[in-house]
Symmetry: D2
Subunit: 398 residues, 4 copies
């Protein structure tokens, strides 16, 4: 039987060319798989037909938007996941769900190999391949751009020669990856770290500096998950999408940073993630109200490691699973409402209320009704500082 | 010889009353010590004379603004110190420098006791007393508000009866602590977590939503310390103060959060720290450019612990000293320029350049000149993911 | 109605005197509760009758040995819990189970207060009181030795005057706490850190230096729990008890250390925990075989924090619960056999086998059958070391 | 000019063959460099002459024993470095010092390449190559066994054909790496994890089970470094060597474990490190006496990461340098004496004394002279447990 290769197909020039290129390089039949994670753009059926027109023996499309939101974005919200304290893992979260569909298609079609369009110097190749080897250790991975030196120019030449039904315009100055959780942009002039992004870099967000009226939203969470906006029930996907629109309209969610890639180099990245950042901001503050101090302190470390693992492509790793257990346990109590003002590029929490609140007015107030027994503090301070004091007697005093 | 008590003196009603109150309670002579950490307000000499008029046997004032900036704020900038990822430790940083001056005065005047005006349910009592026992384990600490039940009403009655030269108006609705690094506000209506702060809460920052032209600043760092603004050399104090003015004018630096106090309760806090937050934002991004990935990842954990220790009053602890060693080593390379736009409540980095940069254009670029050998990735991915893959063979595949 | 106090009762002099002492101090009725956590010694019914003879209005005894082993010792084994890398938390683990029974008795008898016999400078007072306030925040705690200055001499005088049916011999030189999981000893001459323990300090272990034949045991674990010894099914309690006997007979399990107490002081402690240490040693090595590397590396940090929390009396804290989730998840795969030699004070693993093993002979072997593709290493090393190499170009080379 | 290659030369068959093999494969001249890190065996001058006889154009030997002990083993002692809580990094520590000498020779002889004899599936290839790229990013690395498929059989054939002056007996069943800090053994029958090591595996240690009289030693440390044994001054090298002899004679220092390699596989390893383990045991306990609690707790995490970095070949990385700063700071106070009994495979601390001790007899004692104010505990416990108690009111009570 002829070998079969499942290809992660986007509908664009590169992966359209890959269909024929892989067939030529390997002699295998190519099955194209397109996964909708909310990236917008063309209709999935148009993409499916193009794959077949480009030579795929089969083409499958999957609407994975809710799956992506519920099983990949939601854990990130619960973990307040921000790689390097900034980046909400937009692309990193989408790779494992795409991988799941690629592996399922490989099983269905009896394929021995999975192909993707990534280069050899980014993170996404790791996320694809580490994901595939976790779910299907027997499958082989290939990346034509990296493994068969399929450059852009060669791809255009191939497409023109083969008469593929795809535009072969010179490359846009932007290299873009987008999905429901956000959008990532790289572009030549930003490779100079001193250059600021220009407005045309952005698509999910309006200019934060433009004059406009503020928006206000109340986000309701249940066990860490957003379940309503302004009192209207929403799915996780709807929460992200509606806040992409509302927070994006206020310029919220732009990120411009120098980032440490897993392959060891630093790169300049620009992201937009209005919904993701608004939700994480609200979720963090609701945790401040509902999560006990020592758990909250430890959770920050767990969150950092969770973000690094996911950034590094280890979504399906045993450590990631064990950290998820911790994060889920901590989120059991994260229920309540957070009110935010969205304006001028900022999502600012202005109110929070929760039946799970650990804030105790009677203990906190300085007004009438104070129940805090201040006489306890003397002993606390003395013993809390005792080990440092004994060391200080030795080290500092004199 | 009569016992002597050194009192941390602010010039306000509470500590003015403390002078006589302590004398009555303990029979000791009271020496008032006022430390200028950039809190603004009255002239130090006016404060000194008021202390004497209120019954202090001696009164000392110290201008510690540069000491505070150089030895307390700068380490916090190097550590990107944000308690709970938000609060730049404004009050927490000022306590140890005040403690140093209190202890010095106690030694000079032969005092056996140090007194402060804190209540028994906040963090500052711990910071004062743990600090004092670290620097001078033999000194006793007292807090009249906590230990002698000196309430506000009793203080007013005492002042009026004693004819102290101090206004005894009913308390302002705001409880405020401020210094060069920022300003902390608590107030009754904010004890309801659902209430938003009103504009009159703020003093260091303008309304971020007001229309105005953006400001742009270039901050130059050397080994982690800000050394110039827009090319003009500055001290750390000047950097903080000038950015307080410029970033504050753009509404940058407001924080509204629920916070975990060391004494175990949650409280609502509002802060303003325009200079601190602008500097930390710039410093973080310069670290992204100059600090190696694994060091950067580990440093985030160190930063969190550093912030917790300082928040918890353990500035003079052995662990704090050892973490400082780590932070200083990491900052050796943090030199260069960061350009920021200050506008609409946001300090946004738009450019960075450094002779210490680890960003390598030739490795990062996707354009001509790319020197990254993509063929290395295959082996990397395979071995990087190997342990997870072997586990997956056991756990997930099937 | 008369107030009621539930007292943690051991049957010894101190807590026997406490019955009357508390009644005198508080006017309350005292209910004595004795919990069997495997401490050995007198029959529980004898103890129960003594409590009544000493004036308790009610007395309850509970056999909590299996509960202690299953719900308190087993989580410690799964967490390889060794405070300061040495101490298997013998006393720290027993306090929460005793607390559970005290609280249950307080509810049953309508008591408002719980009393315990701890001093005011150790860890156990914290463990009792933090535990009680976690399970029953409304209950008050008292400790007559600490709160009513009930010294040993006063206790003897009280017992003699009241004619209590309890021996009032001068105190043994040893202060001992023991249970199924081990034994803790403090004694005057060990307060000099230069003095070595003498043989009479020990009761659970024979002299390791004595000549004897070695013992060999195979411990079988399922999901982290010991389920068989030498192929014979055991409960957790039986595993601990049988290994206390067998490992103790070989001198395994002695610990002599200087320890950091929660109250801020250092103390000298001697422990014996032959079964606990043998089980943890075996469990650690089985984890080495079955747990993936990154999960194993992270788990070490979790284990340390878990041990600190339990040592510090925070068994019922939210962080402890969330860490348990992590530990349980990691232990799902910890099943298999470990063979150990017990001899000369050492428990030495000599073999391990597991259906969950991640050890892959074909990848590990240097002999025929090697399936490891060595050509992958070049790329791995290059990219694994890339970020350090780029930093080195800047920092070290030249 | 002819290319030059510096080869890490051991004098054994493999690296002797490498000389000619590399010359054939690359056309380069080979310079052999042998570094004495205390591995024992042949005289360095004999090794030097053999290299020349095997075709090296130059051969250098270096006595790096003290350098190894002072600059590599000592930091490991200060860090109590035990990978996976067991392995004192014997081979991992020797690679960076060898790398330093290789790089120095490459510079001296104008070589462009460094070669080593490691396989492609172990850790040492990473340690060599990551080290070399850190110190000399311009140098290329080659590993003939890995890169040119130089198997043992081919090596023997090459040696016989070329008439090299080296024995070509069939390989010993043991693969051994040894140096002053310890000895590592791998061997075929141990690749079955259920097999126990046999006595002939060991060379640095006697059978722990043999009957013999115990030895007792007092180790004196200054700032974390061993400076005297039984009162006689020693260098670090002497301390390690003398304790290798004395502790080894008592069977101390054997390790048998399943280990997580950096390349992602698990392997079975047997080590002997009597001096290293005796010194780390003593050093840990002296830290227990002299290091403040919170610093000690944090240092355990730092130690783990330090050990992982060194194991993983990142000795020269920025993070390793920053952690060294922390470890050195913590060790400033680690001075004093530790008395140990060496016997039956165990190094047991029996006494410790230090002018830097934080143990305070008056605070710790339960006898006359107790200065601990027990009344402080009530307030401490209440506030220490406050955040958990508030959470418990919500979560557990009811």
């Amino acid at each position: 039987m002829t070998e079969r290769v499942v290809l992660a197909y986007s509908g664009g020039l590169d992966t359209s060319v890959c269909i024929g290129w892989i067939a030529e390089e390997t002699g295998a039949e190519v099955i194209a798989v397109a996964v909708d994670v909310g990236q917008g753009g063309e209709d999935l059926d148009v993409i499916r037909k193009r794959a077949l027109a480009c030579g795929a023996v089969a083409a499958e499309v999957a609407d994975a938007k809710d799956e992506f939101a519920d099983e990949y974005c939601l854990p990130a919200i619960k973990a307040n996941a921000l790689y390097m304290d900034r980046y909400p893992l937009v692309s990193a979260l989408s790779r494992p769900v795409i991988v799941k569909h690629l592996v399922a298609a490989a099983r269905k079609h009896g394929a021995s190999t999975v192909a993707h369009g990534c280069t050899g110097k980014g993170n996404d190749q790791v996320r694809f391949e580490a994901g595939i080897s976790a779910l299907a250790p027997d499958l082989r991975c290939i990346a034509p751009v990296r493994d068969y030196a399929m450059t852009r120019d060669k791809a255009i030449a191939f497409a023109e020669k083969a008469g593929l039904p795809i535009a072969t315009t010179r490359k846009s100055p932007f290299s873009i990856d987008q999905n429901a959780f956000g959008r990532a942009v790289e572009t030549g002039f930003l490779e100079d770290l001193w250059n600021a992004p220009t407005e045309d870099v952005y698509a999910y967000t309006e200019d934060p500096a433009a004059a406009r009226a503020a928006d206000e939203v109340v986000v309701t969470f249940r066990a860490g998950a957003p379940v309503a906006l302004d009192g209207r029930p929403v799915t996780v996907l709807q929460a992200v999408q509606q806040l992409n629109a509302r927070a994006g309209a206020q310029g919220v969610g732009r990120i411009d940073m120098v980032e440490d890639r897993l392959v060891g180099i630093k790169s300049r990245e620009v992201y937009e993630a209005p919904g993701a950042l608004a939700l994480i901001t609200a979720h963090q503050e609701l945790e401040n109200v509902t999560v006990e101090r020592e758990l909250a302190r430890y959770k920050r470390q767990v969150e950092q490691r969770w973000g690094e693992l996911v950034y590094d492509g280890l979504w399906f790793s045993p450590l990631k699973r064990a950290l998820d257990g911790f994060v889920d346990e901590a989120n059991q109590v994260v229920s309540g409402d957070v009110r935010m003002t969205l304006h001028g590029g900022r999502a600012v929490v202005t109110g929070r209320r929760s039946a799970q609140s650990l804030y105790d007015f009677d203990l906190a107030t300085y007004d009438t009704g104070d129940t805090f027994d201040q006489s306890l503090s003397k002993g606390f301070i003395e013993l809390f500082g005792m080990s440092s004091k004994i060391a200080a007697k030795r080290d500092l005093a004199g």
